[in-house]
Symmetry: C2
Subunit: 711 residues, 2 copies
Amino acid sequence: TPVERARAPITVFSELVLIEYNAVFKFLLAQPELGLVDITKTQITLDSVRLNYVHGIWYEMPPKAEVLAHVDKAGPKPARKARALLVMGKEDPPTVREVLVTLENEGGGLPVASNLEAVNIHSSKWPEVPYNQRPHGVMDQVGQVIAIMKVYEQLNLFLKAAFNGYSYGESCEPKCIGDNYGAYQWLSDDIQRAIYIWFFMPEAAEGDGGYIHPLPLQVLAAGRKDDLSSWEITKWWFNGHFFPSISDLIAAWNADKDGLRTSFRILKPAGAAKLYSNFEARPGPKRGADQPVGPVAYEPYGRRFSVGQNNRVSWLGWQLYVGYLPHYGPRYMDVRFKGERIAYEISMQEALASYGGNDLSQANTVYLDSHWGIGASVRELVQGIDCPMTAAYMDAVTFFKGASKPNLHKNAICVFEHNPDTPTLRHYSYSYQFYGAVPGATLVVRMVSEINNYDYITDLILSNDGMLEVKVVTSGYVQATAFKAAYRDSFGYPLMYNISGTLHTHVLAWKVDLDIGGTQNSVNIHHMKVGEADDGAGGKIYINKYEAEIAETEDEAAYSTSMAAPKIPVVIAESKKNMFGSPRGYKVQLNRPLLNLEPEGYDRSKALGFMKYSFAATKHKDAEAHSSSIYGQARLSNPSTSLTDYVDGEPLRNQDVVVWVNSGLYHIPVAEDAPVTTTTGNSLGFSLVPFNWANESPATDMADMIEITSE
Amino acid sequence: TPVERARAPITVFSELVLIEYNAVFKFLLAQPELGLVDITKTQITLDSVRLNYVHGIWYEMPPKAEVLAHVDKAGPKPARKARALLVMGKEDPPTVREVLVTLENEGGGLPVASNLEAVNIHSSKWPEVPYNQRPHGVMDQVGQVIAIMKVYEQLNLFLKAAFNGYSYGESCEPKCIGDNYGAYQWLSDDIQRAIYIWFFMPEAAEGDGGYIHPLPLQVLAAGRKDDLSSWEITKWWFNGHFFPSISDLIAAWNADKDGLRTSFRILKPAGAAKLYSNFEARPGPKRGADQPVGPVAYEPYGRRFSVGQNNRVSWLGWQLYVGYLPHYGPRYMDVRFKGERIAYEISMQEALASYGGNDLSQANTVYLDSHWGIGASVRELVQGIDCPMTAAYMDAVTFFKGASKPNLHKNAICVFEHNPDTPTLRHYSYSYQFYGAVPGATLVVRMVSEINNYDYITDLILSNDGMLEVKVVTSGYVQATAFKAAYRDSFGYPLMYNISGTLHTHVLAWKVDLDIGGTQNSVNIHHMKVGEADDGAGGKIYINKYEAEIAETEDEAAYSTSMAAPKIPVVIAESKKNMFGSPRGYKVQLNRPLLNLEPEGYDRSKALGFMKYSFAATKHKDAEAHSSSIYGQARLSNPSTSLTDYVDGEPLRNQDVVVWVNSGLYHIPVAEDAPVTTTTGNSLGFSLVPFNWANESPATDMADMIEITSE
Ligand SMILES: [Ca+2]
Ligand SMILES: [Ca+2]
Ligand SMILES: [Ca+2]
Ligand SMILES: [Ca+2]
Ligand SMILES: [Cu+2]
Ligand SMILES: [Cu+2]
C-alpha cells in the first residue's frame, strides 16, 4: 500500500512517493498567499482562466555536496524537498514561479510538508518566467475554443463541402472530424501564444491512428497578449494554399480558384489497406504462424540482478538508483561499478523533434519533449513484448500537467538481464591451440515514454566489463500531413495515398556527471592527427597519432564533432593512477552525433543550446542542473536555460566535471513508417568506457571466464 | 563424408567443397607448363626458393548475367570454375598469376578439373603481378633467416646482456626470446621486400600472449631485389634508439651512450599480475560465482530457421546463401526477403588496421587483412560462448597460404535466432487505451576471423521488418610495443608496466550489390539542408528539408561523409513504384564512417582506395568484383585494385548499381585491452533499410503482431 511504501527506507536518491506528492499538493493549496486552486476541480471559463495552479511537483535532488557528505562520509541526511511549478495566472502581471517545500517525518508517520521557499527557476537565474512561457495546459484549450467558435459555422460549412459531409464539434456523429494541436509558439510581443492546429479524419473512431489520418486543413489560432477574448484563427492552410480567413478560403473554394475545388481529391484506403494505421491482422499468410515464439530467455540459476526498495538496482558489481523527472525523463543516480562511483548522475535532458514542411503545422513544429513530459509519459510495459518475461518491474509516480493527484504508473520501469550472444572478451589462437573468453552479459533498465504519437524506448545498458551505454530507439506514429508529389524531393514520402510524415530530426541530450576516483576530474581530449615517421630506409611515411590535451577551461572542452578532426574525450582523475601510472578515466563515446544546421545567430536556436556542442564539459554547479528547460518550448528564442551559458571560460582542470552530450538522426518518413516507425537501426545514445580506470579488463573476474588449452 | 557432401546438390552459389579443391590442386600440379610444386613437401633452400606453387584456390563466382539467367530464368547452369593464385618464382622474371580451372561432373561421380585458362588478376586489368608483390608465404622466412643468421652471434650476445640471459634461436631453452613479424613492405625498386621484425619474451611458453610481451627490440630485414643472399638487417631499434647495425647497437650499449645501458629497465609483472596476458582465473572473489550462467535462449516452438545444403539459410521470409572467400572473408549471396531479391551479393572486401608509433615496427604497420586471409582465418566456434547453445553450425573449407590440401574448418559459421528484447514496432496510447506491437526478432549469421592476434566477429543480422545489418566487433590481443611515458600523449597507454599497444584504426569495407526490383537501379541521394518557411504571422523560420538528387554518374554517387552536409543515399528502382507511387528502394545507412586523414596524394594511400569514399556507387562489372586486393599489402603504393578506378564518370542511372561502403574507428590502447580487447561498444558496419520498398512496415505480417484495446 502507499503507506507501506512511504515507510520503506527512503534514500537521498529516492523520487517522491505517492503520499509525499499528496502532502506537498495539500500543503501548497493550503498556503493562502499562493491562492492556488485544484485546476481539475475548477470550471474554466473566460473569466476564470487566470488561475493559480500547480503544474507539477517533483523531488528536488539536494545539493551534491550535501548528498556526498551524507552518502560517502556518513554526514547528516540532507533535507528532503519537493519542487513545485506554479502557474500564477491571477497575479498582476501573471507569471510562473517555482517553490520548494520541505518534507519531514519520512521515517515515522505520514510525511509532513512544510516550509515554503521561493526559489529561482531551476537551472536558471530567473526568479520567474513570463506567464506566456508557461507549460501548455488545459487553459490553452480556452483560447483555442474561443478562436474556433468564432468561425464555427463557416468552418463546418466548409468541412462538409470538402470532406464528404464530415463535420466538426457537437452533433458531428457519426461523421466526425477531429482536431489536434502541433506545436505552439510565442510569435511576437503582441502575439505571445499561438497554436498550430490540424484536423484529421480517422478510419475508425477508436485508436489514435488519427495521427496518420490528417486532413489537408491546418490553422493558426492566436490571441493578443493576455486577452483571451481576442483569440481568433489568423491563418488558414488548405491543401497547399494559405488564406487569411475562412471567408477567403470559402470564397476561393466556391470560385474554384486555381482548381481548388475541382482538383481536390481525398484518397482514402480501401479494403485491407484500411488496416494501415493499426495493428489488426492483415489478410494473407503470417510469418511465423507455426512457430509464433522465437527464443525466449531462461535463467537456469535464477535472476542475477536485484531490485531493492527505492529503485536500487544491483547486478554483477554494478549498483545504481533508477529515477526520473516528470519533464526530463530518466535519471540514474550514484552509478557504481565494483564499489566505486563512476557517475553521480546520468540523466536525460531533452528530446527534440524538429520538423520541416511547406504547410503551416509541420513547418512550424519544434518539439522539446521535456516540456511535454518525458518522465510523466512513462506507462505500464507489456511483459514479453516491451520487456522479456524474465524482467522485473518498478513503478513510477509523477505529478505533472496540472494534475490534482500523483499519477502512479505501475510497472513503468523494467529491468532485465539480456544476453548479447557475443562474448565480451575472446581470442582463439590456432597456432597455439589456445582459446580464452568471457561470455557477454548485459543488464538493461528500460523506460518507455509515450509522448502522444511517439514512443521513446530508453535503455540504460550495463556490461560485465564496466561499459555503460544509454540507448534510445523510437517507435510510434509519425506526425503526418497532406502529401503532395513534390514532397518526395524535399520533405518525405507518402505513407498512404494522400498523406505523409515530413522530415524531422530526433535529438536526445544527456547530462553525464562522471565522478572518476572522486569528484576532482579533468577532461583529456585526444585529437586524432596524422604524424610522420621513417620507413627504416630513409623514406617518409604518414602514421596515426594523437595529441592528448587536457582542457584547461570549459571552452576548450566544448566542441562540435568534425570527421576531419576526430576527438576522443576522456574524463580522468589526474592524481589517481592505475597500476601502470596512467590517470584513471572513462572515455565518453558519442554514438551518433548530429550537428544543428540552422544558421548562426538564428534566434530560435537559443532553445536548442543543448545541441550546440556534440560534447561539452563544465564545472559542476547545483544551479546548472539541466541543459534545457520546460519553458523553452513556448518561446524558442528565450529559454530560461541554455547549455551555452554554462560554457563560460571557467577553469575545468581538477574540477567536478559534468559532461553534456547529445545524439541525433534525420528521419525521412517512408511507407514503412505505417503503422508505426520501426525501432530497428535507428538507435541514439552514448557509451561510457573504462579507460585506464582499471589495470586490465574489468571482465576478468567473471566467474564464467574460460580458458581452453591443448594440454 | 566428403564424397557425400560433394554429391549434395551444389548450387551456383556454393563455395568449393573438399574434393573439388583436391581435384583442382591435383590438376594444377599435373600441368607441366606450370611447373608447380607442392610447397609443403619441398625443402626450401637458398637455391630452391624460386619455386612455382599454388598460394590459394577458391570458387570463381560466374558472371552475374549467367547466374541470373540460370537462377531467375531457368537458363543453363553456368560453368563451375575455380580460381587459383599461382606464385611463379621459377619464371624469368618471376611473377604471380591467376588461372581458372573448370570443374565438371558435380552431379555424378567425383569432380573432374579441366581446362586451364590464363586470366587477368581478379578485379584488375593486370595480366600478372610483380613477384615481390606476391602474398606473404613460407618463402619469406628464408630471407628473414638469412638476415638474422648474419648477426646471430652478436644478436645473442646483446640479448643475453640486455635481457637477463635470455637468448634466441637454437639451444635457448629454457630462457627463450621469440620473434614475430609485423607488416612488410616494398620500400623502393631496389628494396622490393622488407620485413619489420620484433622480439618478445612471454611469461609462459604456452599461449600466444607473446603479442603483449614485446621486447624493446625491433629490426628491419631487407634484401636487394630478388637476391635472397643479400638479405640483412638494415636497421635496429632498441628502446627508442635507432642503429644502423648490431655493432653500433652493441658499441652504444657498452659505452652506455645516453644511459642506454644503465637507464634500461624491463619491468615484468609479478605475482597475480603475471596472469595479465591470459585467461586463467585471477585471485580474489569472482563476480557471478553463485550464478555463473545468466539468461540463455530457449525456443519453445523449436528452431525457426533452417540451414540447408550448401549453406542456404532461411528464416521468417529471409533467404540467402552464406559463403566466403579465403582472402576477403564472408560473402552472402542472393539475399531475399519475402521472395524478392534485395541484394545479389553482400561481401566483405577489406579489414584495415593502420598503426602509429615512434618505433620501427608499429610505425610501419599497415595491415590489409584480405592479404592475411579474412576468410581463411575462420575457425571452429565455441558453443555457448561464441554462439548461443541454440545455434546451428556450418563448415567452411578454404585453400590458402600455400597449402597442399584444403583446410576444413568445422563449425566455423554459426546461425542463430537472437531475441533483441526490443519490440520492432510499438505504440501505446494512454488517451485511447490502445496498444500495438510486433515483437523483435533477428537472425544472426556469424563468422569469426582470427587473423593472428586479432579476432573479427562478423555478424549478418536480419530483422523481421526487412532490415539487414552487417556488424563487426573486434577482440583479441593488441599488437604491442615498448612503452615510453611520452606515448600517453601520442600513441597509447601502457597495458603493463613497460608495454603498450599503439593507436591504430580498424576500417572494414564492403561491397553491397543491391538489386531492388531487378538489377536496374539508381541512387537517390537525400542532401540534408535548412530551408525557410513562414511562421503563419509573417515571420521567417528555418526548417529541415532535403534535396533529393538522383546521381546521374558514378562521380555524383561517391563522397566522403561530412557532418555539416549530411546525405542519406537510397538505392531505388525508378520504374518500380510501391502502392503510393514512390520508387521502391533500400536505404544504405553508414553506421560509423571514418575518414582517411592521410594527405592527398600520399602514395601509400593508393592501397586504401576502399576508404577514399564513405559511400560510393558504381555500375556493376564482373571485372570490378572487389574494392581491394590481396596484392596491396606488399606494396601499398601500387595495388592491383582500387575502388577509385571504378568511379570513372560512367552513367549510373537505371544501371546495375553496386554500393561500396566502409566503417571504421580509432583504437587507443589502454590498460583494459589486456588480456584482450573488449567487443563492447566498438561495432562497425552498415545497415540496409526498406525505403518505400513496401507499402507499410514489412513486419505487419508477423504472426505475433499484437493489438490490445480497451474494448
Ligand atoms: Ca561554467
Ligand atoms: Ca563529476
Ligand atoms: Ca565505373
Ligand atoms: Ca545491383
Ligand atoms: Cu521520427
Ligand atoms: Cu584495435
